[in-house]
């Protein structure tokens, strides 16, 4: 990763050097090399921090879920009459007869190789369950992420540029209202209105799931897209407000700046001033938010997936928690947290490249 970002760094440095006369001149090579070293140290620090966080998550995932009341072995048998010997045999099979610390070290060692054990309820490796459900989640939340980020940036720019006008107030008010709406409730209402059908509205969309089954080729793609409409609308509706508000306030911060007056004095059209000068500077906080959101793409849709019976990670987590299927819950918890940590670290690493004032 560091090798890839090196040329990019030198590019930004080059641009800065041509823009700023203070950086130009014979001594420009020296500071540049020093900056690169400082940046690599910074990246190493962030990666080290991420590794510590990942380990902490691993520890939490192990000990937190041990506290769930209920005997997992009894849950597994599903209330059937089982002899004590059989229960002991099952405990042995899942390693539950070992002392907790032995289990913990065993767990850490295996987790390093991506092995989170065998699911109690499905009797398959946890990682297989997770990789099976991952594409469905990425498809749903990824689509929603792209849409709400684009809509948020677009509307945020527009509302800030027309600060205080009717359009601004309507859009900000609508976004805040949708932001306050519980996602699962909106999902249920959409199901009632457009799947079950209320009054004159017929059932336009399926009530849940990812596919109707039996379709192939183009028909399958259309079928999946048809199933995605309502959950994606739900996620976008409750999700775009945050991007809008961050984009709006950071653009408002920029709007009083002198360089915008200069750009206008040069005779640039309003549209160009906004697109070329104001928005790129105002994008930085939005980029941070984007990475934070990207980290939650993996975990972000527990409720929407539950409501729409979407066969993804969120629904899996909820199902696993109610058993409690310890290995699966631990594995999912680790994957969710790791995704967030990974994206935050990536944001930290990329940020100084976008804004040379940060991280030096």
């Amino acid at each position: 990763m560091t090798a890839d970002s090196n040329p990019a760094l030198l590019d930004t440095e080059g641009a800065a050097a041509t823009d700023d006369p203070a950086f130009a001149g014979p001594s420009a090579r020296g500071p540049r090399a020093r900056d690169t070293r400082a940046y690599l140290l910074y990246v190493a620090g962030k990666l080290g921090g991420a590794a510590v966080s990942l380990f902490a998550v691993l520890v939490t995932s192990f000990f937190l879920f041990r506290l769930i009341p209920g005997d997992p072995v009894k849950q597994m048998t599903g209330g059937k009459r089982v002899s004590a010997e059989q229960l002991d045999a099952m405990r042995k099979e899942f390693g539950l007869d070992q002392p907790v610390m032995t289990q913990f070290f065993d767990y850490c060692g295996k987790a390093l190789t991506g092995d989170f054990g065998t699911s109690y309820q499905f009797h398959t490796p946890v990682m297989d369950k997770i990789t099976d459900a991952l594409p469905a989640t990425l498809l749903l939340t990824g689509t929603a992420f792209v849409l709400y980020t684009l809509i948020g940036i677009w509307l945020g720019t527009r509302t800030a540029w027309r600060n205080g006008q009717l359009g601004d107030r309507v859009h900000t008010g609508l976004a805040l209202t949708l932001y306050s709406v519980p996602s699962f409730w909106l999902g249920l209402l959409l199901i009632i209105t457009f799947s079950v059908g209320v009054g004159p509205i017929p059932g336009l969309f399926p009530t849940g799931g990812l596919e109707s089954g039996g379709e192939t080729g183009v028909a399958y793609v259309i079928d999946v897209a048809h199933h995605m409409v309502l959950p994606v609308i739900t996620l976008v509706a409750v999700g775009y407000a945050q991007t809008l508000l961050v984009m709006r306030s950071s653009l408002l911060d920029e709007m009083g700046s002198d360089y915008l007056t200069t750009a206008r004095a040069k005779g640039l059209r309003d549209d160009l001033v906004r697109r070329r000068h104001a928005v790129p500077n105002a994008m930085l906080p939005t980029v941070t938010l984007m990475f934070v959101n990207l980290g939650t793409v993996v975990a972000g849709a527990i409720l929407v997936e539950t409501v729409f019976s979407w066969p993804g990670l969120g629904g899996l987590f909820y199902a696993a928690l109610s058993v409690p299927d310890l290995p699966l819950v631990q594995g999912l918890f680790f994957v969710f947290s790791a995704a967030v940590i990974l994206m935050n670290t990536l944001a930290d690493v990329i940020y100084p490249l976008l804004d040379p004032r940060v991280g030096r």
Binding site: Y179, V181, D253
Partner: protein
């Protein structure tokens, strides 16, 4: 603040009649700034709307027994037939036990507001304590504390809250605990930044030179300066705490003995209201959650923009 200015030195009291005592001055200053705050706040229409909505909902929650009777939650002597649509007798219809949904909705306000307020107070208190100490004490303490904060910050909040609520088994206090201990890091970061800003000012150095200890500086100089920020943050945290409470209740992790809006939605889903198209059962609880959360958000944003006009919140 409530105690009168008793400890003013007796010999200075008579001659200081035209010149007010230090405490009286401080009180007057506080009153003055509160009045200025209110004048500013009043110009934010959205904030006023939020405040009005909150007052109405709080009154409804407090006087719930007078409004809908004290036996609205009782399953055994429910007044109506199960799943009746809205009518003159039951304006919002009845649930699967024949209870009046309007009554349940009114009682749900109690749970939502209680959990929202207490969880936010817990979260903001932890955040403020951590933030001030991390900003005040330099060195390894600050490093370790901020490392822990960062680590909490990257944990997916909802996942952690769900896990905690599942681990701790449902009661109103475990819900409050689960929300409180998962949402404090944002406040801690904000407060720490403000603490660092305050502590770089000369009057802190003066206080140290006069012999002020850590406790004195943190409680008498830093805390009053971060309090406005904390207030705005509290309102915003309440709003998200209410949403989280509804979410947990909807997932069946709520307090099984009390009525809550999220719990009503779960009941509705389990009673088959979705497939039956009974929108009148589902719509009101969610709407109530949204209105309360929105009201707190609007208030919080208005308070924020009074304290920091550069944010550009529209009026």
């Amino acid at each position: 603040m409530t105690t009168e200015s008793a400890p003013t030195t007796p010999e200075s009291a008579p001659q200081a009649a035209p010149q007010k005592s230090a405490r009286a001055l401080a009180r007057a200053r506080r009153r003055h700034s509160a009045a200025r705050f209110w004048r500013e706040f009043r110009t934010h229409r959205a904030g006023l709307f939020g405040l009005a909505a909150l007052v109405v909902i709080a009154l409804v929650a407090v006087f719930a027994p007078l409004l809908v009777g004290s036996d609205a939650q009782s399953v055994t002597d429910a007044p109506g037939k199960p799943m009746e649509s809205p009518s003159g007798e039951f304006p919002l219809g009845t649930d699967q036990f024949g209870r009046d949904l309007l009554g349940l909705l009114v009682y749900g306000a109690r749970m939502s507001l209680t959990v929202g307020l207490l969880a936010a107070v817990l979260s903001v208190t932890i955040g403020t304590l951590v933030g001030i100490t991390a900003g005040h004490f330099k060195g390894w303490y600050s490093t370790v504390i901020m490392r822990v904060t960062d680590w909490f910050l990257v944990m997916p909040t909802l996942v952690l809250a769900i896990a905690l609520a599942a681990v701790l088994s449902g009661s109103i206090w475990t819900i409050i605990l689960a929300i409180g201990v998962t949402t404090w890091p944002t406040t801690a970061r904000l407060v720490r930044a403000q603490t660092l800003a305050v502590e770089s000012r000369p009057y802190i150095e003066r206080a140290q030179a006069l012999g002020g200890g850590h406790g004195h500086i943190m409680s008498r100089h830093v805390l009053p300066n971060v309090m406005p920020l904390v207030l705005a943050q509290t309102t915003l945290v309440i709003s998200s705490a209410i949403l989280t409470e509804a979410t947990l209740a909807f997932l069946g992790l709520g307090d099984p003995t009390g009525v809550s809006w999220g719990g009503l939605l779960q009941d509705a889903r389990e009673a088959g209201a979705v497939s039956a198209g009974d929108w009148w059962y589902l719509a009101p609880p969610g709407l109530a959650i949204a209105v309360v959360a929105l009201a707190f958000t609007l208030c919080g944003r208005a308070v924020e923009s009074v304290l920091n006009p550069r944010l550009g919140v529209s009026r």
